[in-house]
Symmetry: C2
Subunit: 306 residues, 2 copies
């Protein structure tokens, strides 16, 4: 007899289970990078698949750990790729960071230092908070000379770290010194993805890289607000009022998307169009098994039209 893990291994999406899936699910939660697009290129068959799901009355929600854009910027990206998605349908980790502060009554007179992109600063602003850092510190350098005093704003009460392709020593010192020296300063990570498809052809270091750097210098662990943390699920549920067992999380990453879905009690569908290969999924060292897997989301469309 095989072990329990192999007998509970996930099934490929098929003619048999695709109808059961659609019958039992009211809301599909999609990850974006590796599911909807890779970099700025739409994955084949995405528009007709989303359109078909909407035509069947399914709610569609997009839950992305990529914090470089705000919800508004994501809505623009969808539009530019020919897909109609509203801001309210988008739950990004940039939005999650701002909402975490709001829900936890972060004092608006305090400031937030950002190691990350414009998206985080925009969401902070929309939520009524003052952000510092981010893109404006991209070209800052430090002078490691005797008697150099690195000045920082003592009113920073939170440091938010996300994906930052413009990471530098200035930002690392700024974030570190706030967390180490400002009393009560909290450390928030948008997410901890090790890598991501920042371009179509390759993976690049993800927010997990920048977050780990700040963990390394502060020796503190962050509060994670993106997937697999289910922090965003509360917002999602308030808005859609659908039980989580009527939801299906669709993603390309086992340790964020599929784990998030499972943590929240959703059905889970892994697509192999992003960072996870079939061999990784089936490797004995992998202990995260989605309910179903398939190559790409357009397989749903193809199966239903075959």
């Amino acid at each position: 007899m095989g072990d329990n893990k192999s007998t509970t291994a996930c099934q490929p999406l098929s003619l048999t289970n695709v109808n059961t899936l659609l019958d039992s699910v009211e809301c599909f939660l999609f990850d974006c990078d590796g599911v909807i697009w890779k970099g700025d290129t739409l994955i084949d068959g995405v528009p007709q698949t989303l359109e078909m799901l909407r035509s069947k009355g399914k709610k569609l929600v997009f839950v992305t750990n990529n914090s470089t854009k705000s919800r508004k910027q994501y809505a623009h990206k969808f539009q530019s790729l020919g897909i109609q998605v509203t801001e309210e349908e988008i739950f990004s980790s940039s939005f999650a960071a701002a909402m975490y502060l709001k829900v936890n009554e972060f004092p608006p007179e305090k400031k937030v230092y950002v190691i990350g992109g414009e998206g985080i600063l925009e969401e902070l602003k929309l939520a009524g908070f003052t952000g510092l850092g981010g893109p404006e510190d991209a070209k800052k350098t430090v002078q490691l000379k005797a008697n150099t005093l690195f000045e920082h704003d003592k009113s920073v009460g939170a440091v938010v770290v996300g994906l930052d392709p413009y990471l530098n020593y200035y930002k690392l010192q700024y974030g570190t010194i706030c967390i180490r020296e400002n009393p009560g300063c909290i450390f928030i990570a948008t997410n901890r993805d090790a890598t991501g498809n920042m371009t179509d052809l390759q993976e690049w270091p993800g927010a997990g890289c920048m977050v780990a750097a700040v963990c390394g210098s502060t020796q503190k662990e962050p509060i994670v607000v993106g997937k697999p943390s289910t922090f965003l699920m509360d917002f999602l549920q308030k808005q859609y009022k659908i039980p989580t067992d009527k939801m299906c999380m669709v993603g390309d990453r086992l340790d964020t998307d599929i784990l998030f879905g499972q943590n929240a009690g959703c059905k889970t569908l892994l697509v192999l169009s992003g960072v996870t290969s079939k061999s990784t999924l089936q490797d004995p060292s992998n202990h995260i098994q989605p309910d179903i897997y398939t190559n790409q989301i357009s397989d749903i469309f193809d199966l239903l039209n075959s």
Copy 2:
């Protein structure tokens, strides 16, 4: 009764134990940053203390986790501060990285990618290896555009990560892609110090920050060659042929210097002239207790001349 920890707590250096210490120790191992100097400023009373120890026939060795300089560059730094120290008395983590490759018969036709300073590249060259990266990649940037292919050298067989105040996304992607994609590529950390006194007035993120970043993106753990790893102790012992219980490790950091000394079987002396305060030492959460502690190394000189 108190618990075991408090009864075995370390003693302050005193008139009583300073003579016992000097009688029982043949070789003093000194950390540099926070013990000999802070940034480029010599700590008070260092030259006369070292001179006195030499005059009493003690061997002096300098074991530093700071990898930004080579042994040769360290010897120059000592000279510029008015202290005569030879290259052979210096054991830096830059030297340790090169020696690790040599001892493990790293193929000389393979290359080594460096996230760190000139010191590592210089030691690699002296050991007969070809280094890439380091300072020459300090100003490199990446283009995250569709169809951008980040090229890397497939013959890189090791990535060495140390303190790098010029850390950027290019270097992070280069090191990450080598570790992830080049078969058998090893990941070496010079050390994992969270912070260091890069300037006199403040602590800054240390090599532990850069190393953690690469752990975050590769999801691999490095081979650490600097303190508290005792890798360097073999070289030290070959050269000096002194049993480790006749050695005393003098440092300012509990989790590197004191732990290194203890791991190697040396006596240990903590100085409070660097990153560790007396309250940190005596905090119940600290489980690393040196044999003796004092404010700065010149206390040895002062006590013997009082």
